[in-house]
């Protein structure tokens, strides 16, 4: 049994070295939405994300999300400071993934 354990731990470490590169995280995006955007938008995350289709979100977040910042700063002035700040630039990939994950045509079924 110790040999099996040794082999498996070795395999685990090897797998760790082969692991793939970083990815944006919709769950983190949801957290950032709750923390920085929910108050400003006045709606929960599920409702916010269903404002656009996946293609529309992709277009809005294209590049450095200039179109998203322009549209949502105007739509929700309370979000202006956050969207134009450093934090949004840092968290943008996760927020983008969150919006796409729960977009109106994502087929995602809310858990409520």
């Amino acid at each position: 049994m110790k040999k099996v354990l040794g082999l498996l731990v070795s395999a685990f470490l090897l797998v760790g070295m082969m692991s793939t590169s970083a990815f944006a995280d919709a769950a983190k995006g949801q957290k950032y939405y709750l923390k920085y955007m929910k108050d400003g938008s006045g709606m929960n995350g599920a409702k916010f994300a269903t404002q656009h289709t996946q293609a529309e979100w992709k277009a809005l977040f294209d590049g450095k999300a200039e179109k998203f910042i322009a549209e949502y700063s105007k739509k929700f002035p309370g979000l202006d400071a956050f969207l134009k700040g450093d934090k949004f630039e840092k968290f943008m990939p996760d927020i983008r993934d969150f919006c796409i994950e729960f977009a109106s045509d994502s087929g995602n079924v809310p858990s409520c």
């Binding site: 970083a22 709750l34 108050d39 529309e56 409520c112």
Partner: protein, 513 residues
């Protein structure tokens, strides 16, 4: 002759060339007309309208079917128990267990205010597992998809959600098999981004019931505040489809059984009681970073062992019939706190770290009279007790942990600790730990795990180590005297082997899509 033929040939060639030129011109003209038609048609196309139409179709189709997801894990567990016999001798036993766990999730939203969610699961040891046939508690419904047995597919979740708004209060109502395993806090060790419904510290098991949730964040102005009323039944006092055929595959079938009235799903003296639970979950605050959640519940008619047909010739070697009976009620509660991202921009490491702490309590309320093992030994004629005590006993547990980024991007390291007191009793039978629920431990439990992505989020690997150091016996048992807490000396005096510690090393690969 040649003088005549040559001009004729030249004339014929020229005439043919002129004819070809006309034909080419006609074809070019026709092509020009077609090009003009195409340009007109293209000019009439509204690309934006088409895009909108495609999105509309996509949105419709995406909600027009049942969505499935797969969660499949292959694991190798090395379990080890250290024990002390009544004579004081130390002994141990260990094993290496391979398992496969499949959860097939599903969801559908046929209308804006109606959702269905479901999950089927199979959790099996590699190959055959004879204990599934030999032990009536092996496939119990409380942990059907959370404890390995055979490869039978079982119901894990099935409920609908109806939701809407009453002014500023968003509400939902739900009936069915609850999403009640790997809830808040315990979702971290389970590797699930989203917690299921209850606080995993004191409730982590499969059961059926209903819930009614009211979001009051808008009317209170407190981020994330909601109330949720939960109702559940953990056991139904109902007999079999053919209740009298108890001897169908055995030796107890009598003429009286054969001639008795058949009353499917009625009750009889050997049935375990209706075991009900009502509770309130109150999420006090959740701003995405700080989250405080509480619960309080009461469970009625907790089931415990009732020993009957006692021969009492040699209580240590004779066998008895055991049924499950109502031994009393149990109340409990928890208050749990989680920080998802420590500080605000201090460092990337702290921003991506999660810390939690939780306190839970339980209190017994014994009722009725039933036969215990002590009755079997002739020490009493039956008694009123829960967890081996006729008094109302209170227990508590603390649970804390941290999850931080690993050595490489997207890897996670988690460390957890919990301690349970002498009379601590949780509903955590559905915790996926092969040595038994660590959160039910009357003693100290430690866990460390490391998770890493292999192929993005779709294939992950995890290594985990759980160590439980028991202070008392009966941690993960039922609510009767089998759950009586005895320390090492008391266990020895009662002739019982005391499990001093248990450990579980698990290496797993998990596919999710």
């Amino acid at each position: 002759m040649k003088k005549i033929i040559a001009p004729l040939l030249i004339g014929a060639a020229l005439s043919s060339a002129f004819g070809a030129d006309d034909s080419l011109k006609q074809e070019i003209e026709a092509l020009k007309v077609q090009m003009a038609e195409l340009k007109n048609a293209q000019a009439k196309l509204n690309i934006d309208a088409l895009r909108a139409q495609v999105s509309e179709i996509k949105a419709h189709d995406s909600g027009d079917n049942v969505k499935f997801n797969i969660d499949f894990r292959t694991a190798y567990d090395i379990i080890d128990y250290k024990m002390q016999t009544p004579t004081g001798a130390s002994t141990s036993t260990d094993n290496g267990v391979w398992t496969n766990k499949l959860i097939l999730g599903m969801g559908a939203q046929p209308a804006d205010n109606l959702v269905f969610k479901g999950a089927l699961g199979a959790y099996t040891t590699f190959g055959n597992n004879s204990s599934s046939d030999q032990n009536g508690f092996q496939g119990m419904d409380w942990y059907g998809t959370q404890s390995p047995g055979d490869s039978t597919i079982k119901l894990r979740e099935a409920y609908f959600l109806y939701f809407g708004d009453m002014g500023d209060v968003h509400y939902s109502a739900s009936f069915g098999r609850r999403p009640s395993v790997d809830g808040f806090l315990t979702n971290l060790r389970a590797g699930n981004a989203d917690p299921a419904s209850p606080i995993g510290h004191n409730i982590n098991m499969e059961f059926d019931g209903a819930s009614f949730k009211f979001d009051v964040d808008k009317i209170t102005g407190i981020a994330g505040m909601y109330f949720k009323i939960c109702l559940g039944r953990g056991n139904s006092d109902a007999d079999a489809r053919f209740p009298e055929f108890t001897g169908y595959n055995g030796t107890n079938f009598t003429m009286a059984d054969a001639t008795a009235a058949h009353t499917p799903y009625s009750t009889n003296g050997n049935d375990a009681p209706n075991m009900d639970l009502a509770g309130l979950i109150w999420q006090i605050y959740d701003d995405g970073q700080y989250k405080v959640m509480t619960n309080y519940f009461k469970g009625w008619n907790m089931m415990g062992a009732n020993f009957t047909n006692l021969t009492n010739v040699n209580p240590m070697t004779d066998s008895y019939n055991v049924s499950l009976t109502d031994v009393g009620d149990l109340t409990g509660g928890a208050v749990s706190f989680q920080v998802n991202g420590i500080g605000d921009g201090i460092s990337d490491f702290l921003d991506d770290s999660i810390f939690f702490a939780s306190y839970a309590f339980s209190k017994t309320d014994p009722k009725g009279i039933h036969s215990t093992l002590y009755t079997a030994m002739g020490m009493n004629a039956g008694e009123t007790e829960m967890l081996g005590s006729s008094d109302k006993e209170t227990g508590y547990s603390i649970y804390t942990g941290i999850q931080v980024p690993g050595f490489m991007k997207d890897q996670r390291l988690g460390i957890e600790y919990n301690h349970g007191s002498k009379y601590w009793r949780s509903f955590t039978y559905g915790e996926d730990t092969l040595i038994g629920s660590k959160l039910a431990a009357r003693g100290d439990a430690y866990e460390i795990y490391y998770t890493l992505p292999v192929v993005g989020k779709n294939l992950t690997a995890q290594i985990s180590y759980v160590y439980i150091d028991y202070d008392y016996t009966g941690s993960d048992m039922f609510f009767d005297s089998t759950g009586k807490p005895m320390n090492k000396a008391e266990a020895a005096a009662a002739g019982a082997t005391f499990i001093e510690s248990a450990s579980d090393i698990r290496l797993s690969l998990r596919y999710r899509y």
